[in-house]
């Protein structure tokens, strides 16, 4: 087994550098502090939007009840 004392310079430098790298969690904290949250849309938003439009059109174009009564 190789003694730690015999680690060559490259190995020692790699061991020195490893804990000094920016941790992913810290990087993500920094990124989130910079980039405002972008609102995301639900996957069903388009079908829900279409449904609401269809309902609104149907209501707007339906014959009013008093008009139906007058016709009878």
């Amino acid at each position: 087994m190789t003694s730690p004392a015999r680690h060559d310079l490259d190995q020692l430098l790699a061991a020195w550098a490893q804990p000094r790298r920016l941790p992913d969690a810290e990087a993500e904290r920094i990124r989130q502090a910079i980039v405002p949250v972008v609102p995301t849309l639900e996957a069903t938003w388009w079908s829900e939007f279409n449904s609401k439009i269809s309902t609104a059109i149907a209501r707007a174009t339906a014959t009013p009840v008093p008009a139906l009564a007058a016709l009878q």
Partner: protein, 178 residues
Amino acid sequence: MTTSRDDATVFTRLFDQHRHAVHAYFLGRVADPELARDLVQETFLRAWRRLPEVGPLPDERQRAWIFTVARNLAIDSYRAGAARQAAEAALRRDAATLETTVAGPHAHAELGERLAQLDAAIRDLPEEQRVILSMATAGGLTSRQIGQALGEPAGTVRYRLSQARKQLAAALDLEDGA
């Protein structure tokens, strides 16, 4: 600035591409990890604000732009005295920190001791060598990439890296294989 998902995607790519290098640069300049992180955040905040200009650049020119900002921030930080004070504070607490975070169990005590020697030797390097060494080891950059970032020829970077390695090898009584 109106944020879109495209902006966030472009920024995230830029951030992931350069964050390790920028962090390693500041570690080499200011020694103190907390100050280095603050300076990383400020550097990328400026990149975010100029994203329409920086985002479309190719990697090499993006790196040059980002490191121009980073160099200016490091200079401002030194002028404000923050970096100097932080570096001195980091030096003062260095021995104790290394003892607890690196040495650990008895089996690793010898490696921990060697790393403490290496860290002290790195701190004794001239700043220009320390920054390059940090970018090469902690940042994982090639000499060419470091040269692009610092505005130096790759040959100069290689020479300084070689000088740094010789000084470290001498300090640790090692053979430098470089």
